[in-house]
């Protein structure tokens, strides 16, 4: 038996699905996700190998859990590490397994919360095990996502604000955002984290670490998006948004790390649709600012709308463009620029993703 998994960079780091088919079928379903906690050696973008602890699902590391609001979720977690771990979904009452001993299997049953983006993690020795890699995304589809006018949003009707309804009803018709309405398959998960190899090494060596002392000494050298960074994140299909003008996309942005990020997007301004309140509960925004940078504090999760509008500052007389051609490539990167490094340098191999506008209008089909 291998002691550890090995994740080569650019391979086997992608998200996989759990709960998926059964959970999407109908509300109130009882669905099960089986996770394991595994030690792994993971190759960073500069070739350095770092010890990590990862959640695994049936199809690989860092599984995404997907469910529908109201589902009875049974999460079964087997701990294949030699240290105790746990499981919880912050902001969701009852979604917690306080401790899972080495080699043990524990489970929890809880009701899928209202539609939105959630973070699952190992809360033990916080923030250590979460930083070591034990985190993932739980995506909950709303039970009734439509506005009173029948337009689909990412949020349950009861949670929608009139401003969110106004934006989603403006996506598609002639006017501000001509093209297509938003559809639930137009989303990307952006999970941010940071890696300080010295901390990982200490855990691997079983040194005693006071969790309260971690922040003061945390010196991350790698800054990841869905487990990748730099070129690999920018060119990862599961990460990089792609579409035509008029095909809005929802970005589900989470920060499992300990550093605050300031993601800045080029080409379009975005709207922050939701966030969490002081108690960790999801809240849908009632004042939708159009912004080009937003704040991602540790444990933040925000739903952000990338409208895929025609970049509005291309001169009108130069559009449609004749010499410069589609597709149009733009970056999203954190503007607290230390996060743009890997191994102390190698700009821009940190927290970055590209997004691409394929053409001026959506294809007929």
């Amino acid at each position: 038996m291998r002691r550890r998994h090995f994740l080569q960079y650019g391979a086997a780091c992608g998200a996989s699905l759990m709960f998926a088919d059964g959970a999407q079928a109908q509300a109130g379903a009882s669905v099960t996700a089986a996770l394991t906690i595994e030690p792994a050696d993971v190759e960073m973008i500069d070739g350095v190998r770092v010890f990590m602890l990862l959640f695994y699902g049936a199809s690989g590391a860092r599984p995404v859990l997907r469910a529908t609001e109201g589902d009875q979720l049974r999460v079964v977690v087997r701990n294949n590490d030699s240290r105790p771990h746990g499981f919880s979904v912050p902001g969701v009452p009852g979604a917690s397994i306080p401790s899972i001993g080495a080699g043990q299997t524990r489970e929890v049953i809880f009701t899928a919360p209202r539609g939105g983006t959630y973070l699952y993690l190992d809360p033990t020795l916080a923030p250590i095990n979460r930083l070591l890699g034990l985190h993932g995304a739980l995506i909950v589809a709303p039970l009734d996502p439509t506005t009173p006018a029948g337009v689909i949003t990412p949020f349950s009707r009861a949670a929608q604000t009139s401003e969110v309804r106004a934006v989603f009803e403006a996506l598609g018709p002639p006017g501000r955002f001509p093209g297509r309405p938003w559809s639930p398959d137009r989303d990307r998960i952006w999970m941010f984290s940071q890696i300080d190899p010295a901390l990982h090494r200490r855990v691997d060596l079983r040194q005693s670490i006071n969790p309260a002392s971690v922040a003061a000494t945390f010196a991350p050298r790698y800054f990841t998006l869905n487990g990748r960074s730099g070129f690999d994140a920018a060119h990862d299909e599961a990460t990089a948004p792609e579409g035509y003008i008029g095909e809005p996309m929802l970005l589900r942005v989470l920060n499992a790390g300990l550093a605050t990020h300031s993601p800045h997007i080029h080409g379009n301004h975005v709207m922050e649709l939701s966030g969490i309140d002081a108690a960790g509960a999801m809240t849908v925004r009632a004042n939708l600012l159009e912004i080009d940078a937003w704040t991602m504090s540790p444990l933040d999760r925000k739903d952000v709308l990338l409208p895929f509008e025609r970049p509005p500052d291309i001169p009108a007389a130069a559009y449609p463009m004749r010499e410069e051609q589609f597709p149009l490539h733009y970056p999203m990167h954190c503007h607290i620029e230390m996060s743009q490094t890997a191994g102390g340098g190698l700009y821009p191999h940190g927290l970055i993703a590209d997004w691409t506008i394929l053409g001026p209008t959506p294809p007929e089909s």
């Binding site: 945390f218 010196a219 991350p220 800045h264 970049p311 463009m321 410069e324 597709p327 607290i336 490094t341």
Partner: protein, 340 residues
């Protein structure tokens, strides 16, 4: 050549993306695609070697942009470029040495004009960026090569877009203001200011993941001089509506506390509640209530007072991990709003 490079980003981006990052960054000096006659033009050259005197009587070097076609300012931050909504703007970078770019932050233009090396090209000679700002508000421009270092070294300046009729309203028909002030808090880690322009790009480890600022500035003025320097202090008459344009250019969270209520009327170059944005509206930050901006965020705020007085303003520079005030609690810049 022109056809090839225009096609290059579109169909075969391999050579023009990350693939050539590092020691051998792709660079070019192409003609501007889809070029129009400009309504306004800026010529900005890269200048190294300006040494600022710090409050503890040391010197720290900054890199910057300065005018190429008119008398240089020889100052830092780089000169403001000011334009009006709807103008066709040309902004030319003269790299002068090595490669650089200008990214007009918040301007949503085409990739050729976006100034990002890894989605287009870096510039070794000169290149004219073209755009037509669609929304009035506060922006900035900066070099986007080895940005982690070049931005910290000071290669940025303000970019302000007025409505077509000029200053005085946040947008055409929008909230009125009488005067304006630009506050750009920034922080310097002197260790970084001894590095070469390409530090880290070739696989060396210059420690650009670690930022430990020792100096704190607002709009080019070092703290504690910010308390009295007229470049930072706001002076207004009773009832005068001052538009404060606040940009966080530091590498961390900026916590700001104003002694007056502030009506936030724009964020990141987008006026709140303007036509076409019914889902947003201005909001008030009550006096003495701290608020935070992360790096590159901008707030446009109207402040005023019916009563004469001196109202304190405090900027606290917070570490991006610990959220502690930088430099063992010394990372603070104070200034004032003086109403007479």
């Amino acid at each position: 050549m022109a056809d090839n490079i225009f096609d290059g980003t579109a169909q075969d981006a391999g050579e023009l993306t990350f693939d050539t990052f590092g020691c051998n960054v792709f660079h070019a000096n192409p003609p501007t695609p889809d070029r129009l006659a400009p309504d306004i033009n800026f010529e900005l050259g890269v200048r190294f070697g300006l040494r600022l005197q710090t409050p503890d009587f040391r010197e720290i070097e900054v890199w910057r942009f300065d005018w190429e076609d008119r008398p240089m300012t020889n100052r830092w931050p780089s000169p403001a470029i000011i334009m009006r909504q709807g103008q066709v703007v040309h902004s030319t970078v003269h790299s002068r040495s090595n490669t650089h770019t200008i990214h007009h932050h918040g301007i949503d233009c085409s990739p050729f004009n976006d100034g990002v090396g890894h989605t287009s090209f870096e510039v070794s000679g000169r290149y004219t960026y073209q755009f037509q700002p669609s929304e009035p508000g506060t922006y900035f421009y900066h070099c986007h090569k080895n940005t982690v270092l070049h931005f910290e070294m000071g290669m940025y300046g303000p970019l302000v877009v007025y409505p077509p009729e000029g200053p005085g309203h946040v947008y055409s028909g929008g909230p009125r203001y009488d005067s304006e002030k630009l506050w750009v808090p920034d922080d310097f880690d002197p260790r970084w200011h001894t590095l070469g322009h390409d530090a880290g790009l070739c696989g060396d480890d210059p420690g650009l993941n670690r930022f430990d600022p020792k100096y704190f500035v607002v709009s080019g003025v070092f703290a504690p001089n910010t308390l009295t320097d007229p470049a930072v202090v706001v002076r207004a008459l009773r009832g005068e509506r001052v538009l404060v344009r606040l940009l966080n250019a530091s590498y961390g969270m900026l916590r700001t506390t104003l002694g007056l209520d502030a009506l936030v009327v724009g964020v990141d170059g987008r006026a709140l509640g303007r036509p076409g944005s019914p889902w947003s509206r201005p909001f008030t930050i009550p006096a003495n209530t701290p608020f935070e901006l992360s790096t590159a965020q901008r707030y446009d705020m109207i402040v005023l007072s019916a009563n004469a007085g001196t109202y304190p303003v405090k900027f606290e520079f917070l570490n991006w991990i610990t959220r502690a005030i930088q430099n063992n609690g010394r990372g603070i810049a104070n200034t004032r709003i003086v109403v007479t």
